[in-house]
């Protein structure tokens, strides 16, 4: 994924994340303003407890929050530290987990087409993310085709068609109720014929505990493989940043059913902090490719571990 051409993606991200992280950083500032020393305070057990709370409020989950806090305590316990120092250390610890998994989405030009399957629970932002990705690929001069694999939800096909129009790329669709796997198969054939660079396949939202729907997803993958044993070259799981600890379960199950190759987290422009991503990184080590920071076509940013960690901890750039 290239850096978006639009100026100021950095500040868009910051704006987006600022809203979302202000309460974390407020929380940290709060720790110090209530301290006896203005601005300096011992990183004692009580402070660490409070810090752990701050992480829990960011959806880190109990276990990951405890792990991060413990790591903080190893480095700084009982030393006098400033507000800024603690933010940096916290960011550092968080970044350590995220840096190894922050990997751009790479389209291999040898694949014609490079097949991207996009999956996730209902409403997580799959279709919108496909629309945004299409824009980025088009900007890189790649030819793109979309497949309307959500044959279930009302107007899902029309929705994807609009994104196709916005990007000036073809959308392959069959009537509502058709077999999603058949749509994927047909699109793959067409993409081959037309020498397309990237084929993105949208799928219906499904909760990971619905066995029938997960079986259907497994079938989509199988059928794609029949057409091209190397495909899908990437299977992206789209996670909603407002989701709590259930995101871990989502990654776990989708991974085993559809061999997820990478994650994208959407809706980081709200107040949700997406801390569960840290728990997921720790547990699964799957690449995190990008984040969604708005509803417009350009609101998809490469995932930058330090940036993400810094903003979560409220480190001033």
């Amino acid at each position: 994924m290239s850096e978006p051409e639009k100026k100021g993606w950095f500040s868009r991200l910051k704006d987006g994340l600022k809203k979302s992280t202000s309460s974390v950083s407020d929380g940290i500032t709060g720790l110090f303003t209530t301290g006896v020393l203005s601005g300096k305070r011992k990183l004692d057990a009580a402070t660490l407890d409070e810090l752990e709370d701050v992480l829990i409020m960011a959806d880190f989950g109990v276990v990951t929050a405890a792990r991060v806090t413990q790591e903080l305590s190893r480095t700084r316990l009982d030393k006098e530290v400033s507000d800024e120092e603690i933010r940096r250390t916290l960011a550092g610890v968080v970044a350590q987990t995220l840096i190894p998994v922050a990997k751009p989405l790479v389209i291999d030009p040898a694949n014609r087409p490079h097949v991207l399957l996009v999956v996730g629970v209902n409403g997580s932002g799959k279709t919108t993310t496909i629309g945004k990705l299409a824009r980025q690929f088009r900007n890189q001069g790649k030819s793109v085709m979309l497949a309307a694999g959500d044959t279930f939800r009302a107007a899902a096909i029309e929705q994807l068609a609009v994104w196709g129009e916005r990007n000036g790329v073809p959308v392959i669709a069959k009537p509502v109720g058709s077999d999603a796997a058949a749509v994927a198969f047909e699109a793959l054939e067409k993409a081959r014929e037309q020498n397309i660079d990237v084929l993105m396949i949208d799928t219906a939202g499904r909760l990971q505990n619905k066995q029938g729907l997960m079986e259907e997803l497994a079938k989509i993958v199988r059928v794609i493989r029949k057409a091209d044993p190397a495909a899908p070259h990437d299977t992206l799981l789209v996670l909603d940043a407002t989701t709590g600890q259930n995101a871990v379960q989502q990654v776990d199950v989708f991974r085993s059913v559809a061999q997820i190759s990478g994650l994208i987290m959407t809706k980081l422009d709200g107040t949700a902090r997406g801390g569960v991503l840290v728990a997921c990184a720790e547990k699964f080590g799957l690449p995190i490719h990008a984040i969604g920071v708005g509803e417009s076509i350009e609101d998809l940013q490469p995932f930058d571990a330090r940036e993400f960690a810094d903003t979560i901890a409220g480190v001033a750039a």
Partner: protein, 450 residues
């Protein structure tokens, strides 16, 4: 698999059985577990803190009834308090105004507003025999208006004709006008998803509210929402004075802590819950169900679902066939053990069954050790394939070898064999009954010492 609260508390209170009154330090230890359980269930931290304080006050000094353990006593207090905080059973949709009355659906992007709009419309039109008109004010998400229109045809509820390019407020006014002229009772207004921090879009909702004077403003929220639930609910409520909450995706396997968070910060009732993608999958809110789910105690429904998930169709068929023939070998027994472990062990399974008080008490009394499942697994692994199929051949010398191989004792091997026998007998009965596969994984009964 989440550890259930009752399991955790059981550990803490094991040593204390028989004491008369819950003292401060016992309760303190228990409250730490309650806190973790609630946080794992995605209840917002601020709400967890308040809740734990309340329960602590109630629990300290409580007399433990003779028939229950202190752990059970605390679970009961926690559960009662949770149910109380979640509010009473469902309140109905308020249509108390001169028709047509407006119902506004609001919430974050992707929370399930459009589907919920159609579900409520279907219910009002069907069960309550109201004349309902639906209108989509979502001019932002591609094909959102078409989505509602299609759902309308599916449920036979008319939608306001789409005029491309019309602004949300104007659509709302047109909908009210059309409803007045057409003699409708209710106008369902589906709005575009938006962030609670989006000032511009929140103002838009404000103006729609002002112009249509809805009797209900329902905040639609995803049951899988994490800590952010408090921010979302508070801000939507501050801006719009929502009248109730609709919780979607309750058919997921999230623990639903958001229900408690949102209820606590807004004081608004949870009016309805969405339990599936189909348009009749709308349920009234049952606080006790949600409470036991948050506490990781589930309900019978989820137990059955789980059992079905664990046992693959083929496995089940093969098993039934064998049972019919009266075969239930240690290999089958081992499979059952594995399933039980997946389902959170004994306490996990029992926790899912609110109705089995007797069994639970028996279990508490028997002091069953969860690690036994693991040890029994090891014992079976130390047997030869032949021994697993024909337990009769396991004589004393073999028992010694098996015990040594699995790091257990001959006593334990004997116990396993006895339990297997009991279960095999039970299975034979079930198999003869011929009613297909048993719904619950059998076995917990067989593991209870007699």
């Amino acid at each position: 698999m989440f550890e259930t609260l009752s399991g955790r508390l059981g550990d803490i209170f094991d040593k204390l059985r028989g004491r008369g009154v819950l003292n401060e330090s016992d309760v303190g230890a228990a409250m730490r577990e309650v806190r973790v359980a609630l946080l794992e269930a995605d209840v917002a931290l601020s709400v967890v803190k308040d809740f734990v304080e309340k329960v602590r006050e109630r629990a300290v000094g409580q007399e433990v009834l003779r028939s229950v353990t202190p752990g059970q006593m605390v679970v009961k207090i926690v559960n009662d308090e949770l149910v109380a905080m979640l509010g009473g059973d469902s309140e109905d949709i308020n249509l108390n105004a001169v028709p047509p009355v407006a119902i506004m659906m609001v919430g974050l992007q992707g929370s399930g507003k459009t589907t919920s709009t159609a579900k409520i419309a279907k219910r009002l039109a069907g069960r309550d025999r109201k004349r309902v008109l639906m209108a989509s004010l979502d001019t932002r998400r591609p094909a959102a208006q078409e989505q509602l229109k299609i759902l309308g045809t599916q449920i036979n509820v008319p939608t306001l004709p789409i005029i491309p390019g019309q602004m949300p407020l104007d659509i709302a006014k047109r909908a009210m006008e059309a409803a007045r002229l057409g003699g409708y009772d209710v106008v369902m207004l589906d709005t575009a998803g938006r962030l609670h921090v989006d000032e511009g879009l929140m103002t838009e909702l404000d103006s729609v509210k002002f112009s249509t004077m809805p009797t209900e403003i329902l905040l639609v929220a995803d049951a899988l929402t994490g800590q952010d639930a408090v921010n979302v609910a508070r801000q939507f409520n501050d801006r719009l004075n929502v009248t109730g909450i609709v919780l979607t995706r309750m058919d997921g396997d999230g623990r639903g802590g958001a229900a408690l968070s949102m209820r606590a910060v807004t004081g608004r009732p949870i009016k309805l819950v969405g339990t599936g993608e189909k348009l009749d999958e709308l349920d009234n809110f049952h606080p006790s169900r949600v409470a036991s789910r948050i506490l990781g105690m589930g309900d019978v429904v989820s137990l059955v679902e789980k059992a079905q998930e664990m046992v693959s169709e083929q496995d089940a068929e093969a098993m039934v066939k064998r049972l019919r023939k009266g075969q239930f070998t240690l290999v089958d027994y081992q499979k059952q053990l594995a399933q039980m472990r997946k389902m959170g062990g004994m306490s996990g399974i029992l926790g899912l069954l609110p109705g089995v008080g007797k069994l639970k008490k028996a279990l508490a009394g028997a002091n069953i050790d969860e690690s036994m499942l693991v040890r029994q697994d090891a014992i079976i692994n130390s047997m030869t394939p032949k021994e697993r199929e024909h337990t009769k051949i396991i004589a004393a010398s073999r028992k010694k070898r098996i015990a040594a191989g699995s790091g257990t004792s001959v006593q334990e091997v004997n116990k396993l064999l006895k339990q297997h026998q009991q279960m095999a007998d039970m299975m034979k009965k079930m198999g003869k009954g011929g009613k297909g596969m048993p719904q619950l994984p059998p076995g917990f009964d067989g593991l209870l010492p007699r």
